[in-house]
Protein backbone atom coordinates (compact mmCIF):
# COMPACT_ATOMS: atom_id res chain seq x y z
CA UNK A 1 0.00 0.00 0.00
CA UNK A 2 1.50 3.32 -1.12
CA UNK A 3 -0.76 6.34 -0.82
CA UNK A 4 -3.97 5.18 -2.50
CA UNK A 5 -2.17 2.58 -4.65
CA UNK A 6 -2.55 -0.94 -3.32
CA UNK A 7 -1.80 -4.48 -4.33
CA UNK A 8 -4.62 -6.82 -3.30
CA UNK A 9 -4.61 -10.57 -3.03
CA UNK A 10 -7.66 -12.57 -4.04
CA UNK A 11 -7.14 -16.25 -3.26
CA UNK A 12 -3.53 -16.08 -4.46
CA UNK A 13 -4.09 -13.77 -7.43
CA UNK A 14 -2.52 -10.34 -7.08
CA UNK A 15 -4.19 -7.26 -8.50
CA UNK A 16 -3.52 -3.55 -8.51
CA UNK A 17 -6.31 -1.59 -6.87
CA UNK A 18 -6.94 1.90 -5.57
CA UNK A 19 -8.08 2.90 -2.10
CA UNK A 20 -9.12 6.45 -3.08
CA UNK A 21 -12.75 5.73 -2.19
CA UNK A 22 -11.86 4.00 1.06
CA UNK A 23 -9.34 6.30 2.74
CA UNK A 24 -9.48 4.36 6.02
CA UNK A 25 -8.26 1.12 4.44
CA UNK A 26 -4.95 -0.02 5.86
CA UNK A 27 -2.37 -2.68 5.13
CA UNK A 28 -3.84 -6.13 5.75
CA UNK A 29 -7.48 -5.06 5.67
CA UNK A 30 -10.01 -7.14 3.77
CA UNK A 31 -11.78 -5.04 1.16
CA UNK A 32 -14.48 -5.36 -1.47
CA UNK A 33 -13.15 -4.32 -4.89
CA UNK A 34 -15.32 -3.00 -7.71
CA UNK A 35 -13.82 -1.99 -11.07
CA UNK A 36 -10.37 -1.61 -9.58
CA UNK A 37 -11.42 0.43 -6.55
CA UNK A 38 -11.87 -0.70 -2.96
CA UNK A 39 -15.38 0.38 -1.95
CA UNK A 40 -15.94 -1.27 1.41
CA UNK A 41 -14.21 -3.03 4.26
CA UNK A 42 -15.29 -6.64 4.61
CA UNK A 43 -15.88 -8.51 7.83
CA UNK A 44 -13.16 -11.13 8.19
CA UNK A 45 -15.56 -13.90 9.22
CA UNK A 46 -17.80 -13.14 6.26
CA UNK A 47 -14.90 -13.16 3.82
CA UNK A 48 -13.65 -16.47 5.20
CA UNK A 49 -17.13 -17.94 4.79
CA UNK A 50 -17.28 -16.84 1.15
CA UNK A 51 -13.81 -18.19 0.37
CA UNK A 52 -14.58 -21.52 1.98
CA UNK A 53 -17.79 -21.75 -0.01
CA UNK A 54 -15.91 -20.98 -3.23
CA UNK A 55 -13.32 -23.61 -2.35
CA UNK A 56 -16.08 -26.17 -1.69
CA UNK A 57 -17.72 -25.38 -5.03
CA UNK A 58 -14.39 -25.67 -6.81
CA UNK A 59 -13.66 -29.03 -5.11
CA UNK A 60 -17.09 -30.23 -6.09
CA UNK A 61 -16.64 -29.17 -9.71
CA UNK A 62 -13.26 -30.87 -9.87
CA UNK A 63 -14.77 -34.18 -8.85
CA UNK A 64 -16.11 -35.79 -12.02
CA UNK A 65 -17.93 -38.57 -10.11
CA UNK A 66 -20.18 -36.11 -8.34
CA UNK A 67 -21.03 -34.31 -11.56
CA UNK A 68 -21.93 -37.43 -13.48
CA UNK A 69 -23.87 -38.70 -10.45
Amino acid sequence: LEGDRAVVDAMGNRWKARTTLLPDAGLGDLVLIHAGFAISLVDEEEAKETWQLLAQISDFQNTPDKLSG
Partner: protein, 363 residues
Protein backbone atom coordinates in the same frame (compact mmCIF):
# COMPACT_ATOMS: atom_id res chain seq x y z
CA UNK B 1 -18.55 -22.91 6.87
CA UNK B 2 -20.34 -25.87 8.17
CA UNK B 3 -22.38 -27.03 5.15
CA UNK B 4 -25.09 -28.34 7.49
CA UNK B 5 -25.60 -24.89 8.99
CA UNK B 6 -25.86 -23.46 5.49
CA UNK B 7 -28.46 -26.05 4.51
CA UNK B 8 -30.37 -25.38 7.74
CA UNK B 9 -30.45 -21.67 6.97
CA UNK B 10 -31.65 -22.29 3.42
CA UNK B 11 -34.37 -24.68 4.58
CA UNK B 12 -35.51 -22.32 7.29
CA UNK B 13 -35.79 -19.47 4.79
CA UNK B 14 -37.59 -21.72 2.34
CA UNK B 15 -40.15 -22.70 4.98
CA UNK B 16 -40.73 -19.06 5.83
CA UNK B 17 -41.14 -18.22 2.15
CA UNK B 18 -43.52 -21.14 1.54
CA UNK B 19 -45.69 -20.29 4.55
CA UNK B 20 -45.87 -16.60 3.62
CA UNK B 21 -46.70 -17.33 -0.02
CA UNK B 22 -49.48 -19.74 0.99
CA UNK B 23 -50.98 -16.96 3.05
CA UNK B 24 -50.77 -14.45 0.22
CA UNK B 25 -53.39 -14.90 -2.46
CA UNK B 26 -52.37 -14.55 -6.10
CA UNK B 27 -49.08 -13.89 -7.77
CA UNK B 28 -46.29 -12.10 -5.94
CA UNK B 29 -43.70 -10.28 -8.01
CA UNK B 30 -40.32 -9.49 -6.51
CA UNK B 31 -37.96 -7.48 -8.68
CA UNK B 32 -34.21 -7.38 -8.32
CA UNK B 33 -32.42 -4.37 -9.76
CA UNK B 34 -28.89 -5.69 -9.96
CA UNK B 35 -27.24 -7.68 -12.73
CA UNK B 36 -25.17 -9.67 -10.26
CA UNK B 37 -28.36 -10.76 -8.48
CA UNK B 38 -29.88 -11.79 -11.83
CA UNK B 39 -26.99 -14.13 -12.53
CA UNK B 40 -26.69 -15.41 -8.94
CA UNK B 41 -30.41 -16.23 -8.82
CA UNK B 42 -30.23 -18.21 -12.05
CA UNK B 43 -26.91 -19.92 -11.42
CA UNK B 44 -27.89 -21.11 -7.95
CA UNK B 45 -31.18 -22.59 -9.14
CA UNK B 46 -33.20 -20.50 -6.67
CA UNK B 47 -35.97 -20.05 -9.24
CA UNK B 48 -36.66 -23.79 -9.14
CA UNK B 49 -37.33 -23.85 -5.38
CA UNK B 50 -39.46 -20.74 -4.86
CA UNK B 51 -43.22 -21.19 -4.35
CA UNK B 52 -45.32 -21.38 -7.53
CA UNK B 53 -47.00 -18.02 -6.95
CA UNK B 54 -43.72 -16.19 -6.37
CA UNK B 55 -42.33 -14.62 -9.52
CA UNK B 56 -38.82 -13.20 -9.71
CA UNK B 57 -38.38 -10.30 -12.11
CA UNK B 58 -35.10 -8.90 -13.39
CA UNK B 59 -35.39 -5.13 -13.44
CA UNK B 60 -33.16 -2.40 -14.81
CA UNK B 61 -30.02 -3.45 -12.93
CA UNK B 62 -27.53 -4.45 -15.59
CA UNK B 63 -25.53 -1.38 -16.67
CA UNK B 64 -25.19 -2.41 -20.30
CA UNK B 65 -28.87 -3.38 -20.60
CA UNK B 66 -30.22 -0.04 -19.41
CA UNK B 67 -27.92 1.96 -21.68
CA UNK B 68 -30.03 3.65 -24.29
CA UNK B 69 -29.57 2.91 -27.99
CA UNK B 70 -28.71 6.56 -28.65
CA UNK B 71 -25.75 6.31 -26.26
CA UNK B 72 -24.51 3.13 -27.97
CA UNK B 73 -24.74 4.88 -31.35
CA UNK B 74 -22.74 7.81 -29.96
CA UNK B 75 -19.99 5.45 -28.78
CA UNK B 76 -19.85 3.90 -32.26
CA UNK B 77 -19.77 7.35 -33.87
CA UNK B 78 -16.75 8.29 -31.73
CA UNK B 79 -15.09 4.94 -32.47
CA UNK B 80 -15.30 5.83 -36.17
CA UNK B 81 -13.24 8.98 -35.63
CA UNK B 82 -9.54 8.59 -36.33
CA UNK B 83 -8.51 10.94 -33.53
CA UNK B 84 -10.27 8.92 -30.80
CA UNK B 85 -9.15 5.98 -28.71
CA UNK B 86 -12.10 4.27 -27.02
CA UNK B 87 -11.62 2.83 -23.52
CA UNK B 88 -14.48 0.60 -22.44
CA UNK B 89 -15.45 -2.07 -19.94
CA UNK B 90 -15.64 -5.40 -21.77
CA UNK B 91 -19.39 -5.90 -21.68
CA UNK B 92 -20.05 -2.91 -23.99
CA UNK B 93 -18.00 -4.40 -26.83
CA UNK B 94 -20.74 -6.50 -28.39
CA UNK B 95 -23.76 -4.24 -27.88
CA UNK B 96 -25.23 -3.69 -31.36
CA UNK B 97 -25.94 -0.17 -32.54
CA UNK B 98 -26.36 1.66 -35.80
CA UNK B 99 -23.95 -0.08 -38.19
CA UNK B 100 -22.46 -2.90 -36.12
CA UNK B 101 -20.84 -2.77 -32.70
CA UNK B 102 -17.45 -1.97 -31.19
CA UNK B 103 -16.56 -5.59 -31.91
CA UNK B 104 -17.21 -5.25 -35.63
CA UNK B 105 -14.86 -2.24 -35.57
CA UNK B 106 -11.97 -4.12 -33.97
CA UNK B 107 -9.84 -3.89 -37.14
CA UNK B 108 -9.73 -0.13 -36.58
CA UNK B 109 -7.53 -0.97 -33.58
CA UNK B 110 -8.66 2.08 -31.59
CA UNK B 111 -10.76 0.26 -28.99
CA UNK B 112 -9.28 -0.89 -25.68
CA UNK B 113 -10.98 -3.06 -23.08
CA UNK B 114 -10.16 -1.91 -19.57
CA UNK B 115 -10.95 -3.24 -16.10
CA UNK B 116 -10.80 0.04 -14.25
CA UNK B 117 -11.26 3.74 -14.97
CA UNK B 118 -7.64 4.18 -13.84
CA UNK B 119 -6.58 2.16 -16.91
CA UNK B 120 -8.43 4.63 -19.16
CA UNK B 121 -6.56 7.55 -17.65
CA UNK B 122 -3.25 5.72 -18.09
CA UNK B 123 -4.16 5.13 -21.74
CA UNK B 124 -4.48 8.89 -22.17
CA UNK B 125 -1.08 9.48 -20.56
CA UNK B 126 0.47 6.86 -22.86
CA UNK B 127 -1.17 8.13 -26.07
CA UNK B 128 -0.78 11.91 -26.13
CA UNK B 129 -1.59 12.02 -29.86
CA UNK B 130 -5.09 10.60 -29.37
CA UNK B 131 -8.18 11.71 -27.49
CA UNK B 132 -9.08 8.91 -25.09
CA UNK B 133 -12.84 8.59 -24.64
CA UNK B 134 -13.82 6.56 -21.59
CA UNK B 135 -17.19 4.85 -22.07
CA UNK B 136 -18.36 5.51 -18.52
CA UNK B 137 -21.37 3.31 -17.87
CA UNK B 138 -22.71 1.84 -14.66
CA UNK B 139 -24.62 2.79 -11.56
CA UNK B 140 -23.47 4.44 -8.33
CA UNK B 141 -20.95 1.62 -7.90
CA UNK B 142 -18.77 2.64 -10.84
CA UNK B 143 -19.55 6.37 -10.93
CA UNK B 144 -17.13 7.24 -8.09
CA UNK B 145 -14.32 5.40 -9.91
CA UNK B 146 -15.01 7.62 -12.94
CA UNK B 147 -15.07 10.73 -10.76
CA UNK B 148 -11.66 9.87 -9.29
CA UNK B 149 -9.99 9.83 -12.72
CA UNK B 150 -11.78 12.98 -13.92
CA UNK B 151 -10.36 14.79 -10.89
CA UNK B 152 -6.92 13.36 -11.59
CA UNK B 153 -7.09 14.33 -15.26
CA UNK B 154 -7.95 17.87 -14.13
CA UNK B 155 -5.09 17.92 -11.63
CA UNK B 156 -2.68 16.77 -14.34
CA UNK B 157 -4.23 19.09 -16.96
CA UNK B 158 -4.50 16.06 -19.20
CA UNK B 159 -6.27 17.53 -22.21
CA UNK B 160 -6.57 14.34 -24.28
CA UNK B 161 -8.90 12.57 -21.84
CA UNK B 162 -12.68 12.72 -21.68
CA UNK B 163 -15.60 10.62 -20.54
CA UNK B 164 -18.92 9.84 -22.17
CA UNK B 165 -21.04 9.66 -19.04
CA UNK B 166 -23.78 7.06 -19.22
CA UNK B 167 -23.84 6.74 -15.42
CA UNK B 168 -27.24 6.08 -13.94
CA UNK B 169 -28.97 6.32 -10.58
CA UNK B 170 -30.94 3.37 -9.28
CA UNK B 171 -33.56 5.03 -7.08
CA UNK B 172 -35.05 7.33 -9.80
CA UNK B 173 -35.44 4.25 -12.03
CA UNK B 174 -37.27 2.36 -9.27
CA UNK B 175 -39.56 5.36 -8.80
CA UNK B 176 -40.19 5.52 -12.56
CA UNK B 177 -41.14 1.85 -12.66
CA UNK B 178 -43.57 2.26 -9.78
CA UNK B 179 -45.10 5.35 -11.36
CA UNK B 180 -46.24 3.32 -14.39
CA UNK B 181 -49.91 2.46 -14.02
CA UNK B 182 -49.55 -1.13 -15.23
CA UNK B 183 -46.56 -2.11 -13.11
CA UNK B 184 -46.79 -5.43 -11.30
CA UNK B 185 -44.03 -5.02 -8.70
CA UNK B 186 -44.80 -6.01 -5.11
CA UNK B 187 -41.33 -5.61 -3.62
CA UNK B 188 -37.69 -4.90 -4.43
CA UNK B 189 -34.69 -7.03 -3.68
CA UNK B 190 -32.31 -4.08 -3.56
CA UNK B 191 -28.84 -4.17 -5.10
CA UNK B 192 -25.88 -5.11 -2.91
CA UNK B 193 -22.97 -3.18 -4.36
CA UNK B 194 -24.93 -0.04 -5.20
CA UNK B 195 -26.03 -0.04 -1.56
CA UNK B 196 -22.41 -0.22 -0.44
CA UNK B 197 -22.03 3.24 -2.00
CA UNK B 198 -25.40 4.94 -1.46
CA UNK B 199 -26.31 3.16 1.81
CA UNK B 200 -29.48 1.19 2.36
CA UNK B 201 -31.10 4.35 3.75
CA UNK B 202 -31.42 5.57 0.15
CA UNK B 203 -34.31 3.15 -0.41
CA UNK B 204 -36.35 4.49 2.52
CA UNK B 205 -38.22 6.83 0.17
CA UNK B 206 -39.47 3.84 -1.87
CA UNK B 207 -40.87 2.18 1.23
CA UNK B 208 -42.41 5.45 2.47
CA UNK B 209 -43.82 6.75 -0.82
CA UNK B 210 -44.96 3.50 -2.40
CA UNK B 211 -45.43 1.13 0.54
CA UNK B 212 -43.24 -1.60 -0.90
CA UNK B 213 -40.75 -3.79 0.97
CA UNK B 214 -37.13 -2.98 0.10
CA UNK B 215 -34.58 -5.53 1.24
CA UNK B 216 -30.86 -5.37 0.46
CA UNK B 217 -29.24 -8.76 0.06
CA UNK B 218 -25.77 -10.13 -0.64
CA UNK B 219 -24.95 -12.45 -3.51
CA UNK B 220 -24.52 -15.87 -1.91
CA UNK B 221 -27.52 -18.14 -2.59
CA UNK B 222 -28.30 -18.33 1.12
CA UNK B 223 -28.27 -14.54 1.41
CA UNK B 224 -30.62 -14.18 -1.56
CA UNK B 225 -33.05 -16.79 -0.25
CA UNK B 226 -33.06 -15.17 3.17
CA UNK B 227 -33.71 -11.82 1.49
CA UNK B 228 -36.63 -13.25 -0.47
CA UNK B 229 -38.01 -14.91 2.67
CA UNK B 230 -37.81 -11.60 4.53
CA UNK B 231 -39.75 -9.89 1.74
CA UNK B 232 -42.42 -12.61 1.65
CA UNK B 233 -42.78 -12.40 5.43
CA UNK B 234 -43.23 -8.61 5.24
CA UNK B 235 -45.83 -8.94 2.46
CA UNK B 236 -47.77 -11.60 4.36
CA UNK B 237 -47.74 -9.45 7.50
CA UNK B 238 -48.73 -6.37 5.49
CA UNK B 239 -45.78 -4.47 6.96
CA UNK B 240 -43.45 -3.22 4.23
CA UNK B 241 -40.06 -2.28 5.64
CA UNK B 242 -36.56 -1.28 4.73
CA UNK B 243 -33.99 -3.85 5.73
CA UNK B 244 -30.40 -4.68 4.89
CA UNK B 245 -29.34 -8.28 5.13
CA UNK B 246 -25.94 -7.69 3.55
CA UNK B 247 -23.99 -7.83 6.77
CA UNK B 248 -21.23 -5.43 7.57
CA UNK B 249 -20.56 -4.48 3.95
CA UNK B 250 -23.65 -2.28 3.60
CA UNK B 251 -24.35 0.49 6.07
CA UNK B 252 -27.32 2.83 6.32
CA UNK B 253 -25.37 5.86 5.08
CA UNK B 254 -23.05 4.07 2.65
CA UNK B 255 -19.58 5.11 1.55
CA UNK B 256 -19.44 8.84 2.26
CA UNK B 257 -16.07 9.37 0.54
CA UNK B 258 -17.49 7.84 -2.65
CA UNK B 259 -20.70 9.92 -2.40
CA UNK B 260 -18.67 13.10 -1.91
CA UNK B 261 -16.52 12.51 -4.95
CA UNK B 262 -19.62 11.81 -7.09
CA UNK B 263 -21.14 15.08 -5.85
CA UNK B 264 -17.95 16.97 -6.56
CA UNK B 265 -17.79 15.92 -10.22
CA UNK B 266 -21.35 15.12 -11.24
CA UNK B 267 -24.85 16.52 -11.04
CA UNK B 268 -28.12 14.69 -11.59
CA UNK B 269 -29.59 15.25 -15.05
CA UNK B 270 -32.58 14.01 -17.02
CA UNK B 271 -31.59 11.10 -19.22
CA UNK B 272 -32.69 8.22 -21.37
CA UNK B 273 -32.90 4.58 -20.32
CA UNK B 274 -33.52 1.62 -22.54
CA UNK B 275 -37.11 0.57 -22.02
CA UNK B 276 -37.96 3.26 -19.51
CA UNK B 277 -37.39 6.28 -21.75
CA UNK B 278 -36.62 9.66 -20.24
CA UNK B 279 -36.38 9.70 -16.45
CA UNK B 280 -35.94 12.97 -14.62
CA UNK B 281 -32.70 13.46 -12.69
CA UNK B 282 -31.71 9.83 -13.21
CA UNK B 283 -28.33 10.17 -14.89
CA UNK B 284 -25.03 11.75 -13.91
CA UNK B 285 -23.64 14.60 -15.98
CA UNK B 286 -20.24 16.22 -15.35
CA UNK B 287 -20.47 19.57 -13.58
CA UNK B 288 -19.55 22.69 -15.55
CA UNK B 289 -16.13 22.98 -13.92
CA UNK B 290 -15.23 19.61 -15.49
CA UNK B 291 -16.98 20.18 -18.82
CA UNK B 292 -13.71 20.02 -20.75
CA UNK B 293 -13.65 16.31 -19.86
CA UNK B 294 -17.22 15.81 -21.06
CA UNK B 295 -17.20 13.99 -24.42
CA UNK B 296 -20.73 15.25 -25.16
CA UNK B 297 -19.64 18.89 -25.09
CA UNK B 298 -16.16 18.26 -26.49
CA UNK B 299 -17.61 16.66 -29.65
CA UNK B 300 -20.82 18.74 -29.68
CA UNK B 301 -23.08 15.73 -29.29
CA UNK B 302 -26.66 16.04 -28.13
CA UNK B 303 -27.95 12.82 -26.66
CA UNK B 304 -31.12 11.73 -28.40
CA UNK B 305 -33.21 8.66 -27.99
CA UNK B 306 -32.63 6.33 -30.94
CA UNK B 307 -35.40 4.25 -32.42
CA UNK B 308 -34.97 0.52 -32.10
CA UNK B 309 -36.92 -1.21 -34.84
CA UNK B 310 -35.50 -4.72 -34.56
CA UNK B 311 -38.55 -6.01 -32.66
CA UNK B 312 -36.37 -6.49 -29.58
CA UNK B 313 -38.40 -6.50 -26.34
CA UNK B 314 -35.56 -5.55 -23.94
CA UNK B 315 -37.58 -2.53 -22.81
CA UNK B 316 -40.59 -4.57 -21.71
CA UNK B 317 -38.30 -7.13 -20.10
CA UNK B 318 -36.40 -4.48 -18.12
CA UNK B 319 -39.72 -3.19 -16.75
CA UNK B 320 -40.66 -6.70 -15.62
CA UNK B 321 -43.69 -6.74 -17.91
CA UNK B 322 -42.65 -9.84 -19.85
CA UNK B 323 -40.13 -12.65 -19.43
CA UNK B 324 -37.43 -13.11 -22.08
CA UNK B 325 -39.06 -16.23 -23.65
CA UNK B 326 -42.08 -14.03 -24.48
CA UNK B 327 -39.93 -11.99 -26.87
CA UNK B 328 -40.38 -13.29 -30.44
CA UNK B 329 -36.64 -12.98 -31.08
CA UNK B 330 -35.53 -14.95 -27.97
CA UNK B 331 -33.51 -18.07 -28.82
CA UNK B 332 -34.54 -17.70 -32.47
CA UNK B 333 -32.73 -14.78 -34.07
CA UNK B 334 -31.34 -13.45 -30.75
CA UNK B 335 -28.79 -15.62 -28.93
CA UNK B 336 -25.64 -14.88 -26.90
CA UNK B 337 -23.57 -15.73 -30.00
CA UNK B 338 -25.54 -13.31 -32.20
CA UNK B 339 -27.31 -10.91 -29.83
CA UNK B 340 -29.84 -8.39 -31.12
CA UNK B 341 -30.70 -6.74 -27.81
CA UNK B 342 -28.53 -5.50 -24.96
CA UNK B 343 -30.10 -7.91 -22.44
CA UNK B 344 -28.71 -10.82 -24.47
CA UNK B 345 -25.25 -9.25 -24.82
CA UNK B 346 -24.29 -8.77 -21.21
CA UNK B 347 -23.75 -11.91 -19.17
CA UNK B 348 -25.70 -10.03 -16.47
CA UNK B 349 -28.66 -9.42 -18.77
CA UNK B 350 -31.98 -11.11 -18.13
CA UNK B 351 -32.10 -12.66 -21.62
CA UNK B 352 -28.57 -14.08 -21.42
CA UNK B 353 -29.31 -15.53 -17.98
CA UNK B 354 -32.57 -17.12 -19.15
CA UNK B 355 -30.81 -18.51 -22.21
CA UNK B 356 -27.97 -20.01 -20.21
CA UNK B 357 -29.67 -21.27 -17.07
CA UNK B 358 -33.33 -21.85 -17.88
CA UNK B 359 -34.64 -24.98 -16.24
CA UNK B 360 -38.16 -26.29 -16.04
CA UNK B 361 -39.89 -25.22 -12.81
CA UNK B 362 -40.71 -27.97 -10.36
CA UNK B 363 -44.39 -27.04 -10.37
Amino acid sequence: VNPDIMIDRIQQAQQLMDAACRELAGEINIMEVCGTHTVAIFRSGIRSIVPANLKLLSGPGCPVCVTDQGYVDTVLHLADRDDCLIATYGDMIRVPGRGGSLETRRKRANIRVILSSADALQLARDNPGKIVVFVAVGFETTAPATAVVVKEAAAESLENFCILSGHKLVVPAMRALLSEKNHNIDAFLCPGHVSVIIGYGAFAEIVEDFGLPCVVAGFEPVQIIEGLAEICGQLAAGRPELKSMYGAVVTERGNIAAQNIIDECFEAADGYWRGLGMIERSTLKLKDKYSRFDAFSRFHITETQAEDNTGCQCGQILCGLIDPPQCPLFEKSCTPEAPIGACMVSSEGACAAWFKYRLPRKH
